[in-house]
């Protein structure tokens, strides 16, 4: 750890510490889960993930948690992505390509409107 040599460095350290604090405080306004089973990855889930992260960064949203999980047996629908806004039931999207992923982030995660035509039927 660098020795703090000035007030400016202390300020920077405090900002960093606060950021780390925020990371620790679980919960965000929205949670996006990407299914990363072997099937998901084979179907392109890695690109989906990248697209989600890039869109979040480009749109400068900060209160979103992106998680990943394994296969849930809907391999024909992969890549699968689940979006859950605070206090609402989760919504599952199928065949989420990179473009679709960007759209879901913009319309559902940021805009709050479910992208109906991409939702996996129950």
């Amino acid at each position: 750890m660098p020795v703090v040599k000035s007030i400016e460095e202390l300020k920077r350290l405090r900002e960093e510490a606060l950021t780390k604090r925020q990371l620790q405080a679980t919960g965000g306004r929205a949670q996006i889960t990407v299914y990363m089973g072997t099937c998901g990855i084979a179907a392109g889930a890695r690109d989906t993930m990248k697209a989600i992260l890039d869109t979040i960064e480009a749109e400068n949203v900060r209160d979103v948690i992106v998680k990943q999980t394994g296969c849930i047996g809907l391999c024909e629908q992969e890549p699968l992505v689940e979006v859950q806004l605070a206090d609402t039931p989760p919504v599952r999207y199928g065949h989420v390509s990179a473009e679709r992923a960007a759209r879901i982030v913009k319309e559902h995660v940021i805009g709050g409107k479910i992208v109906d035509e991409l939702v996996v039927p129950e």
Binding site: V3, L10, T38, M49, L53
Partner: protein, 593 residues
């Protein structure tokens, strides 16, 4: 700023670094890059995660997954399985479970947390957590914007008074020490906390050690000291360990040591352990103990500010006095002085004990009444019983009756009532407490802890105790009260240190406020609260006794006899007044008189 879906904290404590945390961190970054995750997962350092027993350890957010005992060989599969596919690798999970803090719940009604603001909220072993709560900002302000005189002015203006007992204005003490000739100068933190049942200081040391350390550095700057000691009792091993770790981290970050924050001010600090003698909390005895001598007090003056450790000017304050200093500097003296009464500013922590519903640690602003403390914060007397007295100020404090319930609590009001503020012990007693017995109890502690250096304290407290024991045993003599008063005044006036000078307090205050109880014991051979065994007798009321034999079967000395289904009787010759029969009787047939 780059958005990362996941952040990995790698513990870089010395233990974990020893076990290869830095290499692991580097290889983890490489492995993440190799698997194409470098711009999704960020790797950061942190000073503390678990207990470092099974390092290296990492903590992953937002999942809060804690891995420990990692080797370099684990990394490829960990990255593949967990970071890429999201499957927790259970075999690498840490077994460490952070201790749950049961001691300090959310603030109770009327509590104001200033000293305790960080306790239970930050990780005391992670300096970054303290820094996130504005930690060391006050130090930076003091070192770059304020002269030592201005710091002392600010503390004076805040009205802060010493929290170790006597309530001497902290700013004035610093002024004296700054003005004193001699070098080097020292700062000492009194963390001896010897009052039975008191744990206010321990809680701060264990929960927020850096606030004490920062307060001490600021004091050192104000008085011109270059070295400091925290004198902590050995019965507080967790506090000692936490402090040592906090000091190490403060040194690593450059808040202790040479040229603090790039200025030409240098200061360092160490922890000394006390072996638990009560008198070692007295400042001159404490300093003797730090010097490696026997922990005996000496006469004052000279005061420590003039001649303290090794004859050098020394500032000694209590844990709580130092702990609020950073906040006074940051938020201003006016903010601090806005809480409290005309003469007592700010807040005070108390260890609330005895017959109240919510016992435990509390922090309240001065000026609150005893009634509010007992009934609002403390939730009232246990079992809905009546209030009898409250004991403040620890063993050298005093007992106050119901007449003082509505007096605002501050240094002056407690002193004028014959008690003291002390360091924050507060024992609530219900109507079933015998005040003579309480005086005897405290005197037993004091005479046991008297160091024996001066005769009034050594012999006098012994004599006080003997008289009190006699009164409780039903052998009180008509002039005992006068003898107690005479002795008390003698001990108070002629003892060497605060221990002897305060020793008679429990006797004096109970005599002042509960004299009739002494008289009942001495003249009527009666204990009104029905506590003193020699003065009570247990009897069985034949009107209520069903002859169930429960009491007879439970009596440890077989003093109860009677036929089944017939009223029983107690043989007073054999009865030891243990009270078990009364406890077990289901028909309230056992009476005490």
């Amino acid at each position: 700023m780059r958005y990362y879906r996941s952040h990995v904290m790698v513990c870089t404590s010395p233990q974990c670094v020893d076990k290869g945390a830095r290499t692991l961190m580097k290889r983890l970054q490489e492995e993440l890059a190799a698997q194409g995750l470098a711009d999704e997962v960020a790797v950061l350092e942190t000073p503390h995660i678990g207990d470092c027993a099974n390092g290296p350890e990492i903590m992953v957010y937002p999942d809060r997954v804690h891995y420990a005992g990692l080797t370099l060989e684990d990394l490829p599969s960990l990255v593949e399985e967990y970071f890429k596919k999201g499957r927790v690798v259970t075999r690498l999970l840490s077994q460490f479970r952070p201790p749950v803090d049961k001691e300090l719940g959310p603030p109770k009604p009327k509590e104001v947390r200033v000293v305790l603001r960080n306790c239970g909220k930050i990780d005391p072993e992670n300096i970054e957590d303290y820094i996130a709560e504005d930690g060391y900002q006050a130090l930076a302000k003091v070192l770059t914007e304020m002269t030592p005189e201005q710091v002392i002015e600010e503390i004076l203006a805040s009205g802060l008074r010493g929290r170790g007992g006597a309530g001497f204005p902290t700013g004035r003490k610093w002024q004296f020490c700054r003005a004193a000739a001699g070098s080097p100068k020292y700062v000492v933190c009194n963390a001896d906390e010897g009052d039975p049942g008191a744990f206010m200081n321990r809680r701060v040391l264990e929960g927020d050690p850096h606030s004490v350390i920062e307060g001490m550095i600021i004091a050192a700057y104000a008085i011109g000291a270059s070295y400091g000691y925290i004198y902590c009792r050995a019965e507080y091993p967790i506090a000692v360990r936490t402090l040592r770790e906090a000091i190490r981290q403060a040194r690593e970050y450059g808040f202790l040591g040479q040229n603090i924050l790039g200025t030409d001010f240098s200061f360092d600090l160490e922890v000394r352990m006390g072996a638990g003698a009560f008198v070692c909390g007295e400042e001159t005895a404490l300093m003797a103990s730090i010097e490696g001598k026997r922990g005996h007090p000496r006469t004052r003056p000279p005061f420590p500010a003039v001649s303290g450790l090794w004859g050098k000017p020394t500032n000694i304050n209590n844990v709580e006095s130092y702990a609020v200093v950073p906040q006074i500097i940051l938020k201003g003296s006016a903010w601090y002085a806005s809480m409290g009464t005309a003469t007592s500013k700010g807040t005070k922590t108390f260890a609330l004990a005895g017959d109240v519903n919510n016992t435990g640690l509390i922090e309240v602003p001065f000026g609150i009444t005893m009634r509010e403390i007992i009934y609002d914060v403390g939730g009232g007397i246990k079992g809905g019983k009546g209030f009898k007295a409250v004991q403040t100020g620890g063993p050298m404090g005093g007992c106050l009756p119901a007449a003082y319930l509505d007096v605002p609590v501050d240094y002056e009001s407690l002193t004028s009532a014959g008690s003291i503020m002390g360091s924050g012990g507060m024992v609530v007693m219900d109507e079933e407490t015998c005040m003579v017995d309480i005086a005897r109890f405290f005197m037993e502690f004091i005479q046991d802890e008297s160091c024996g250096k001066c005769i009034p304290c050594r012999v006098g407290t012994r004599h006080l105790l003997e008289i009190l024991e006699r009164i409780c045993a039903g052998l009180g003599k008509p002039d005992d009260i006068e003898e107690l008063e005479h002795l008390s005044s003698l001990i108070r006036r002629s003892s060497l240190c605060g221990l002897g000078q305060g020793a008679p307090n429990p006797v004096v205050t109970t005599l002042r406020h509960f004299r009739s109880e002494y008289e009942a014991h001495i003249y009527d051979k009666r204990c009104p609260a029905k506590v003193c065994r020699a003065l009570i007798r247990y009897e069985i009321d034949p009107a209520f006794c069903t002859g169930c034999t429960l009491c007879a079967r439970n009596c440890p000395v077989n003093a109860i006899s009677g036929e089944r289904r017939q009223p029983h009787t107690i043989n007073q010759e054999l009865c030891t007044r243990c009270g078990i029969c009364k406890q077990v009787c289901k028909f309230d047939a056992v009476t005490v008189s």
